[in-house]
């Protein structure tokens, strides 16, 4: 075998390893129901759940509980299927958290009652879509 071939095979082997790990380590978007099924099947992989904060009739966010030392909190997230779930996040409340239109939690179930988020991504009302120009200063 020529050196070129060995190198070629090496590249292919590494590329395959890269592709496999990329697929293997890729997370997935789930609902709370499918996430819980995964947990029951013994899969502990971190997954993404997209949802919205639970709001009361007046549009206020409800269910936000900040721990006494203010370094962690729990909140209620309603996923796109309408399942409500208590989520724990071991970080202080992000400042624009309550304003977010959509929240993506990345993490896994600890027990049925609590989903532990390792990371939170927030979609905030973009200023590009801001259509109400303030009339102040007319």
């Amino acid at each position: 075998m020529k050196k070129g071939h060995i190198i070629g095979l090496g590249i292919i082997a590494i590329a395959i390893v890269i592709i496999m790990t990329s697929i293997g380590d890729a997370s997935s978007y789930e609902s709370f129901n499918t996430a819980w099924e995964m947990k029951e099947d013994g899969e502990d992989k971190s997954i993404h759940v997209v949802g919205q904060l639970k709001k009361d009739e007046t549009g206020q966010v409800t269910g936000l509980e900040v721990r006494e030392d203010k370094t962690s909190f729990t909140f209620l997230l309603v996923d796109n299927e309408g399942t409500e779930q208590k989520v724990f996040y071991n970080e202080p409340v992000p400042a624009d958290f309550q304003r977010s239109e959509q929240v993506v939690v990345i993490g896994s179930y600890r027990e049925k009652e609590i989903f532990v988020a390792d990371k939170i991504l927030m979609k905030c009302p973009s200023k590009y879509q801001e259509t109400d120009v303030q009339a102040a200063g007319m």
């Binding site: 890729a26 721990r67 203010k70 370094t71 959509q102 990345i106 120009v133």
Partner: protein, 839 residues
């Protein structure tokens, strides 16, 4: 009044630029094809056309800046990206905050580069400029803002606000102009954000040059000659792009709160990948110049680096990343256009390369293990694999979008822990690269066989092992992975330093580019290993208190809650939060916020107290960005103040809440990095119920938890801000409130006028207290105070020690110097050949 002139000018120039780009492309094609007699006139025409294009592009940029600079908020772009309070250098940031501005910046660099190329090339002008003009046509089309039926081409930055939004106010008054804009994202209000985007876009723009030379080479069938003019530009491009990436990383380090300089975010990956490929292409191009191998590889890599820049732009700006990235770029409806742009050039390049493929010279002989080609080729492959490993998962959102556009469902998400995922591979690739550079450099400068190689490598090997051992012992590097990195990094530095010394002894500094850049690489590797691998969160809660006694307590709490004035133990330090501060024009240090009161005008405040020699009570002072609060955190050791840090936070309603920037204490061998993660919002406090205290002068009592002394009261002759009348009685009570080591004077006032009682309460936001003097009971010699509590001011903060991060920064600077030296050398070579009339 609405000024439509500038907008119309900008829009007109956009159309002129677009048309002239197409004309230029056509003219240069004609010039290229024309016979000797007509050539001169076509060339003149093409150049004039390109200069018209250049002029109009510059005018587009000018018009947009004029709109921002003169606060023309009737324009959507100025309204949504700027505000009156911005200083001029941040207006420059406003310019490219929006995507349209970024495209203008890109187009602007392209024309500058185009003009330089016209004047530095003879032979290559026509084919290169055709590619340039076509790229420009695509870029300008992004800001055209033309709507034909359902088809929208580009998004114009010269849109009026009333056309961009459907705000009802415009139905009442179409000429309405908002008083102020919504401002620039505070995270971009940083000096690095003024220079980072132009650098990055110059890098983006310059990747076009090697690509254009390649296309020129393929079209003119000069399959190998294109390398000489392309090489200095490829190195230039890699240098600028690299500098842009580093600036971005540094900006992230000093302004963003994720606690580092690199987060493997898709937006970062999207620039990192083309850069890797670009660097790989430089190496294969240099190899080709030396030994006529690797030409095909170079062609593929040059095409890839250019296409990857377009792909990166597509990923970042099409909105396809959606919620996969923390960088939120909204979809301006340009994704289709960007895709066409990318596919167009990909198709051209692939077709031309495929057609020429069998004519491209290759060397038949197999590269020998003891040849430099072999080692450089391995290096290029490793760089390629590095790029592949990053771009694959980064493209997952694009993959989902692709599957969904064909009606399928794909719920793949990027890896949950990106840092861990990418580091696992990139680390070892980087080690391989480091080792390859040191071995490769030896092969580069001399013909070597097995024996010579051993001899050449043995000294650097021993020296680097010794140095590594010292580093490992002194810095306590005990993890085997990190030990390997230290070894690889030191070996790279030592081996390349040996080469550098030889070069300097024998010939000129001009040849030192390669070894300098590689020394930089070794330092970067070691710097990253220390600053990331041994980054140490010291803000672990040490109070010993558990709050809920559940599994939650087992999780690492990486933040500490600091109540104002309360000392808190944190690893080797005692930290105390001392309150908020502001930056005042003309005062070198931060000024306590409590002695300033806003006048209602933008960035202006009145001083409530004297402050050192800088200003007096009652002075009007100018504040630098009044929304910014700097939280003073004192660090103490052995009860003496070591230093104070002032991490910044800005509460910005328009931008969606709190935006924070860290502050670091920089030592030679480490940084102590501190940022505020949450803070008290005392704008609109919910006061708790009234508490009443009856106290005699001289008495000590407790307000909430605070020990308070009632020192007595005095009758006032005058009160600030009040007109006392004949017969009025005004009494001021003096309360001293103790909070740890600080003492606060609270002086509520009580006024009697015609049997009416007026009370002037005092509010102390730091202590979260509102105290008013409710009543005076002369018979009992008692004063009645009403107290409402809110909560003491606090911050939740995180502190991280990052050892040897300076090694990383110094390494990047050395690497950039290496690149620069190489640019000069290669450009010199090109010039000599050109002047001989060979190219």
């Amino acid at each position: 009044m609405i000024n439509t002139f500038v907008g119309n000018l900008g829009h007109l120039m956009t159309i002129v630029a677009f048309v002239s780009a197409l004309v230029t492309a056509y003219a240069y094609i004609q010039y290229f094809r024309a016979n000797e007699i007509e050539k001169a006139s076509w060339r003149r025409f093409s150049r004039i056309s390109f200069y018209i294009h250049t002029g109009s592009t510059v005018l587009i940029a000018f018009s947009l800046f004029e709109i921002i600079y003169n606060h023309r908020y009737e324009y959507f772009y100025a309204y949504s990206h700027s505000s009156k309070a911005l200083p001029v250098h941040y207006m420059i940031s406003s310019f490219w905050e929006g995507q349209e501005g970024a495209f203008i910046l890109w187009a602007f660099w392209n024309v500058i580069l185009g003009v330089i190329l016209i004047h530095t090339n003879k032979f290559w002008e026509a084919p290169v400029m055709v590619v340039f003009a076509l790229v420009q046509a695509f870029l300008i089309s992004m800001i055209m803002g033309v709507v034909i039926g359902d088809l929208k081409i580009g998004s114009s930055p010269f849109m009026l606000l009333r056309d961009a939004t459907q705000a009802p106010i415009f139905q009442l008054n179409p000429d309405f102009v908002p008083e102020d804009g919504t401002g620039l994202n505070p995270l971009l209000q940083n000096i690095w954000m003024v220079i980072h985007p132009p650098t990055l876009f110059l890098g983006y723009a310059s990747t076009l040059i090697p690509f254009a030379f390649l296309i020129g080479g393929l079209v003119t069938k000069r399959y190998s000659e294109w390398i000489r003019p392309a090489l200095p530009w490829a190195i230039f491009s890699a240098m600028i792009l690299g500098m842009g990436i580093i600036m971005g990383a540094y900006w992230a380090y000093v302004t963003l709160n994720f606690g580092g300089y690199w987060n493997w975010d898709p937006v970062e990956n999207a620039v990192y990948v083309p850069w890797l490929i670009l660097v790989a292409s430089i190496h294969t191009m240099i190899t080709f110049k030396k030994s006529a191998t690797a030409l095909k590889t170079s062609i593929v890599l040059v095409i890839m680096s250019f296409i990857l820049v377009l792909y990166a732009t597509f990923l970042v700006r099409s909105g396809v990343l959606g919620d996969a990235s923390v960088h939120s770029f909204t979809d301006l409806g340009l994704s289709g256009q960007l895709l066409i742009y990318m596919l167009f050039f990909l198709a051209i390049a692939v077709v031309l390369a495929a057609r020429a493929w069998k004519h491209i010279p290759t060397s038949e002989k197999e590269a020998d293990v003891y040849s430099r080609e072999f080692w450089i080729f391995l290096g290029a492959i490793t760089l390629g694999l590095m790029a592949f490993q990053v771009i694959l998962p980064t493209s997952i959102p694009a993959w989902n979008a692709l599957v969904e556009s064909f009606g399928g469902i794909s719920n793949m998400a990027p890896p949950a822990d990106q840092v861990e995922f990418y580091t696992r591979f990139q680390l070892w690739f980087a080690v391989a690269i480091a080792l390859l550079t040191s071995v490769g450099q030896f092969f580069w400068w001399q013909k070597i066989d097995k024996k010579v190689l051993k001899e050449a490598l043995v000294t650097p090997y021993i020296v680097s092992v010794l140095i590594s051992a010292a580093i490992i012992v002194l810095a306590k590097v005990y993890d085997w992975k990190y030990i390997i990195i230290v070894l690889a990094g030191t070996f790279t530095i030592v081996a390349n330093a040996v080469i550098l010394a030889k070069i300097l002894k024998k010939s000129t500094f001009k040849l030192a580019g390669g070894s300098l850049a590689h020394i930089g690489l070794g330092m970067i590797l070691i710097g990253i290993m220390f600053s990331s691998g041994y980054s140490d969160v010291i803000s672990i809660n040490m109070s010993g208190l558990t709050y809920s006694n559940s599994w939650e307590d087992e999780m690492n709490k990486e933040h500490v809650l600091l109540w104002i004035n309360k000392p808190t133990q944190m690893k080797d330090y005692t930290v105390i939060y001392r309150g908020r501060q502001k930056k005042v024009v003309g005062v070198p240090e931060y000024v306590p916020a409590k002695i300033l009161e806003s006048t209602g005008n933008v960035n202006e405040a009145i001083a409530l107290e004297d402050y050192k020699e800088h200003f007096k009570k009652g002075d009007i002072v100018k504040i630098v960005l009044e929304e910014n609060d700097y939280f003073k955190i004192d660090y103490l050791q052995n009860e003496t103040l070591k230093f104070s840090l002032s991490p910044m936070s800005q509460f910005n309603e328009g931008m969606g809440g709190l935006i924070s920037s860290p502050d670091s204490k920089i030592y030679l061998n480490k940084d102590l990095y501190t940022y505020v993660a949450a803070m008290n919002d005392y704008e609109d406090p919910e006061w708790k119920e009234d508490e009443n205290y009856e106290v005699s002068p001289g008495e000590q009592f407790h307000i909430a938890d605070f020990v308070t002394y009632f020192d007595g009261a005095e009758v006032l002759k005058e009160i600030e801000g009040y007109q006392l009348q004949e017969g009025d009685v005004a009494v001021k009570a003096k309360l001293r409130v103790l909070d740890y080591d600080t003492e606060k004077l609270l002086e509520p006032t009580f006024i009697i006028r015609n049997n009416q009682v007026g009370k002037l309460p005092v509010i102390d936001t730091e202590l979260g207290l509102k105290v008013s003097l409710e009543n005076i009971l002369p018979e009992q010699n008692k004063f009645v105070f009403k107290v409402n509590q809110y909560q003491k001011d606090y911050v939740v903060m995180k502190a991280i020690v990052k050892p040897y991060i300076n090694v990383l920064w110094i390494g990047t600077i050395i690497m950039l110097i290496g690149f620069t030296v190489a640019i000069f050398r290669r450009f010199d070579e090109f010039q000599k050949m050109r002047d001989k009339g060979l190219e």
